[in-house]
Amino acid sequence: MFNGFFIDDSPRDANLYSGLLSEKNSLSIRPLKLEDITVLGKKIISSSPDIVAIDFRLDENISDSPDAIGLYKGSTLSQLLRDWTLDLPAQDFPIVLVSAETKMRSYHLRDQGVQSQFDLTYSKEQLSDRNHEPRRQLLALCKGYVEIKKVWKSLNFGSLLNLDPEEFDSIKTQGLNKGFATVVSPSGLSRFILRNLIERTGPLYDLYDLAAVLGISQESLKLVVDTEHIRKLQYEGIFNDGWSRWWSHRVDDWTSEQFATPATTLPGSERAKQLTKILGRKVNPAKSTWNGSPDELFAVSCVCCHNPTELRHSLTVFDGARPDFIRSRRVCWDCIQSDRPSSLGIQIDDFDQRLVKRIQALEKGADFE
């Protein structure tokens, strides 16, 4: 059973979200009354929590916190806690940001650094929806911290990721090495893995990426994801209980071997045909979001609609801080034409930007002349 706190300046919200963050018999989150930041910080550290969740705005309901001396935001508290545990890896714990969606969006837009202090961020709306995913992830986070702290003194990244040394060596890049080498605390390592492996496409694929590389529809993928072949490709390292991920090198190697050619060189229809035979279950090919064809060379998932898309009908998303082991994200032409990237705050890379207007002017399904 893991224990933790939720700090919110609204006692009512503190009670509510503590309940929503908790998982029966495995994760107990209790509300913690807001008080002076030092007093509160010491109280948290001295309780040795397994996890702490903090609302971003702790300065809005001051009438409910008469003991508060000075007003501070969740990021200030989180920074204080990080500072105090930096040299005490055994006392390190995950800190999760929980805030209203609109506030989170406005603060993240102004200060990208805010998010980096936290292991994970959730909107209150996400926690209210009927899905257990956040709780599953919080549990995985708590378990992961236990594992990290256990091996912290003789840290072996490969074994943490559940890869044998040879396989770990095969995926290492300069960026990945540097990333691992610079972490100085369990929370630092946690955030590096979450930010770079779990949340981005690179060494790991998510469900959408996997469908794209296999060239099959997402519905079909759900039918085959538990087959022996696919299970072998799965990521089983730290935090794997919270997120379904597949090693990209395993997927690429396996598909190349099965198809006798890199997967992305075969049309989706051909890949689906062969996978139906290999996996023993009927799978349908993906269909191009642009022209509806199953014969396209599907390679990536669209960052807007998440559907498999082909390189020739997608554009690169601008990513100003992309390490060498992270794959560039792409947006399909259909989303480009429908203005979805801008409505989601996604920016097209300058190199591809010149094509946006041309794509917008094309009839759906058509190609450049």
Binding site: D13, L20, K124, E125, L127
Partner: protein
């Protein structure tokens, strides 16, 4: 008849001589003929020539134009007009052309015969097949109007000599002398055989040529031929179906060596000005008297033809064309605006051409033959339709329009029923077209006081400009000039007063309209603020309420199966009811957030509809409304606009449709959202199978505060009708160059509202 024996003897003696005086013989013989008691005949006094010149040719500019026209008729390609010492009476005017020229026989038998020109029997010129402009044979007497002495020198190609005749109007053609008794000296001069043409040297000019008169003459030359209005500078309309075998090289007029003001103006007009007309207007009377007028405006996407109710039975078939200008910076490039307005004042109007040549004074700066200026100043015409707003011409020919005959003075057409019809036709056509343009512009005009510009009344400053211009050209009394004053006609002052009054009335009308609009904006702004706060609060409470629902769901896990099932159902209903509310709250928040952005962006119509539909998908499913979306082509994009505006439009349509569908009480509930490219517009149509719009309301639904909803609806989304929804939709459409209208529903639907705005490519 008894013949005078003495006279008879004198005749006999004279003819017996070796060199008889034939002039004397003719005089004596004429005396005998005239003494016949049984017959009489007219004689012409030599002074009549003076009358022909002075009275039949009104102004000296007209006289000069008549000579230029004669050169044109003679297949000249160039006419040179030179004035020497003509800034005071007594100067010399030389008109020289490179036309066919005349042999001595032609001079003797045709040129010297009054009013019986060969142009009647040969209406087409021999070389270039031009329809000859002069028919009455009196143009030559224009020379008498211009000066006291004429030296005619003319020669044809192939001959080494030309014919020279000297006419001394002042000393020879005096009253009391019979014209037959006046002989002018003929001589021959040598010339190169290839040279041809005619040179008229008019000495002792009767009047001085002021700069203004020269300018007027130059201006008249610019508009001498209707080809001025053609887009092709070299095009020459002959007015005849016959086309020459030899291409007509055109016809140039030079005044004082260059006198190119006209030419420059013409080039500027053709190349830079005419393209900026807001519309072109053409009218046509057919053989059977039926008539129609067409107005075409690319800028306004207007192309309409209107048949006249009346028939025009005495004009004969004819056609007019006019470029229509509205001198506003919104209708033409700013850099051109002032020049264009100046052109309009100087050269605007509808000119009349007969057989390819200008009939003065129609379309002159001081002429108002269509009563456009007078009716505009009196506000009978409320659209911009002064003479200066039109550059047009009417083309007439002798054969097609025999009753539209020029007066002998060359100062207009004979005032008859035919002219009245012509005036009614042209005026009616221009007025209809100008009103259509105003109507379309008014629809396209951006509403709201800031961008409003009065389209109907000329600015008082313009009227004052005109008044000053008229004063500067009007003859001034020396006493006034000495005092630095100018004479202004009473009528002009009256027109100015009327214009100022009209301007004041229009300003007052605008002020009232602005106040009304402001009031509407205030209401909307206060509603907007309240809605914004509401949306924010709703969104803020969403996570809490759904969170409690979720928590409740977790808590009941400990209950026994039966109780858990019952409570689960209740929680499910609560979840569903609150979700609907949150959809709206979320939508309003996103709308308000998007409104915050002042950036105008072109929007994907498909993307906008998809996002809108997704927002309400859950709600519409609950309402059992089947929605069909059909966008073609998928690439359809709007002109740059605020993203929230298209959401507002769709939300307005949706709420109206839902209200209407609910009124029917039927279970089959359908909405169709379609978008098409319609010319340069995006046509977004919203259809439903509700109760529809009664025809009597079709024109009013876009008015502010017009609503048919009287009871408060209980539904959180559709709410009561404020009567502003479609007004806002209409305003948004207009501000992006389009309009909102009630359309004809497609099969299975009862109501269709259409929303047009400019598409991206034509924006």
């Amino acid at each position: 008849m008894e013949i005078d024996s003495v006279t008879l003897a004198r005749i006999k003696d004279e003819v017996k001589k070796e060199s008889p005086d034939w002039h004397l013989v003719e005089v004596l013989t004429r005396g005998i003929v005239d003494s016949d008691p049984n017959r009489v005949r007219f004689n012409v006094d030599a002074g009549h020539i003076k009358k022909l010149g002075d009275e039949l040719v009104g102004k000296q500019e007209t006289a000069l134009i008549e000579l230029v026209k004669n050169a044109y008729d003679a297949d000249a390609t160039k006419v040179s007009v030179k004035l020497v010492g003509a800034d005071s009476p007594g100067g010399t005017l030389i008109v020289e052309d490179d036309g066919n020229g005349m042999t001595q026989d032609v001079v003797r038998n045709s040129w010297m015969t009054v009013s019986t020109p060969d142009k009647v029997s040969e209406p087409i010129s021999p070389l270039y097949h031009r329809v000859r402009a002069g028919r009455k044979g009196i143009g030559r007497f224009a020379t008498q109007r211009l000066g006291r002495k004429l030296i005619l020198e003319t020669g044809v190609t192939g001959s080494s000599t030309g014919t020279k005749v000297v006419f001394d109007w002042e000393s020879q053609f005096v009253q009391g002398e019979r014209i037959n008794d006046i002989f002018s000296q003929v001589s021959a001069y040598t010339k190169p055989v290839e040279v041809h043409g005619t040179r008229l040297t008019i000495e002792k000019t009767s009047e001085r040529w002021t700069k203004a008169e020269l300018d007027r003459a130059a201006d008249s030359v610019i508009f001498l031929r209707p080809s001025f209005f053609s887009n092709h500078p070299n095009a020459e309309e002959t007015g005849s179906n016959d086309r020459s075998q030899i291409d007509d090289p055109g016809f140039e007029v030079e005044i004082n060596g260059h006198a190119t003001k006209g030419k420059e103006v013409a080039i500027n007009f053709r190349n830079h000005f005419l393209d900026h007309a807001i519309a072109t207007i053409t009218g046509e009377i057919n053989e059977d008297g039926s008539a129609s007028v067409t107005v075409v405006s690319k800028k306004l996407e207007l192309n309409e033809t209107n048949p006249f109710d009346d028939k025009f039975l005495v004009t004969g078939p004819l056609r007019f064309e006019a470029y229509y200008f509205i001198y506003l910076t919104t209708t033409m490039p700013g850099r051109l605006y002032k020049t264009a307005a100046q052109f309009g004042r100087e050269y605007g109007g509808v000119k009349v051409y007969k057989n390819g040549f200008r009939v003065l004074p129609y379309g002159d700066v001081t002429d108002d033959w269509l009563k456009l200026d007078v009716d505009s100043s009196r506000r009978f015409l409320l659209v911009p339709a002064n003479n200066r707003n039109f550059f047009g011409h009417v083309e007439l020919t002798d054969s097609a329009n025999p009753f539209l005959e020029e007066t002998s003075s060359r100062q207009g057409l004979i005032d008859n029923e035919s002219l009245v019809e012509l005036r009614n036709f042209v005026r009616g056509g221009l007025e209809w077209a100008a009103k259509r343009v105003a109507n379309v512009r008014a629809k396209k005009a951006v509403p709201g006081p800031k961008r409003y510009s009065p389209p109907t009344i000329s600015r008082p400053s313009h009227t004052i400009d005109q008044l000053l211009q008229a004063a500067s050209t009007a003859p001034s009394h020396p006493d006034l000039s000495a005092a630095g004053l100018v004479a202004v006609p009473q009528t002009h002052l009256q027109a100015l007063k009327e214009n100022l009054e009209a301007w004041e009335q229009e300003s007052e009308r605008q002020r009232r309209a602005s106040l009304q609009y402001e009031e509407m904006l205030r209401i909307l702004a206060s509603m907007g603020l309240a809605i914004s706060v509401f949306g924010h609060e709703i969104r803020g409470s969403r996570s809490s309420i759904l969170g409690y629902v979720q928590l409740l769901r977790d808590k009941i896990e400990i209950l026994h199966d039966g109780a858990r099932t019952d409570l689960s159902e209740v929680i499910g209903d609560l979840d569903s009811a609150t979700s609907r509310m949150f959809d709206i709250g979320g939508y309003i928040t996103s709308l308000m957030s998007a409104t915050g952005s002042k950036e105008l962006k072109s929007l994907s119509v498909r993307g906008a509809i998809d996002r809108f539909y997704k927002q309400f998908e859950y709600y519409l499913e609950k309402q059992r409304v089947v929605v069909t979306v059909d966008v073609e082509p998928s690439s359809l994009r709007t002109t740059p606009m605020h993203a929230s505006e298209i959401d507002s439009v769709l939300l307005n349509f949706l709420t109206n449709s839902l209200k209407s569908i609910k009124k029917t009480g039927k279970k089959d509930r359908r909405i169709r959202i379609s978008a098409r490219k319609d010319g340069k517009y995006v046509l977004l149509a919203f259809e439903d199978n509700g109760v529809g719009i009664p025809p009597e309301h079709a024109d009013r639904v876009f008015e502010a505060f017009f609503t048919t909803t009287t009871n408060t609806e209980e539904d959180v989304l559709i709410g009561p009708g404020a009567g502003l929804g479609l007004k806002i939709v209409s305003d948004i459409a207009q501000s992006y160059g389009g309009e909102a209208s009630v359309g004809t529903p497609t099969g299975g639907y009862n109501c269709r509202i259409e929303f047009r705005i400019l598409a991206l490519e034509d924006a």
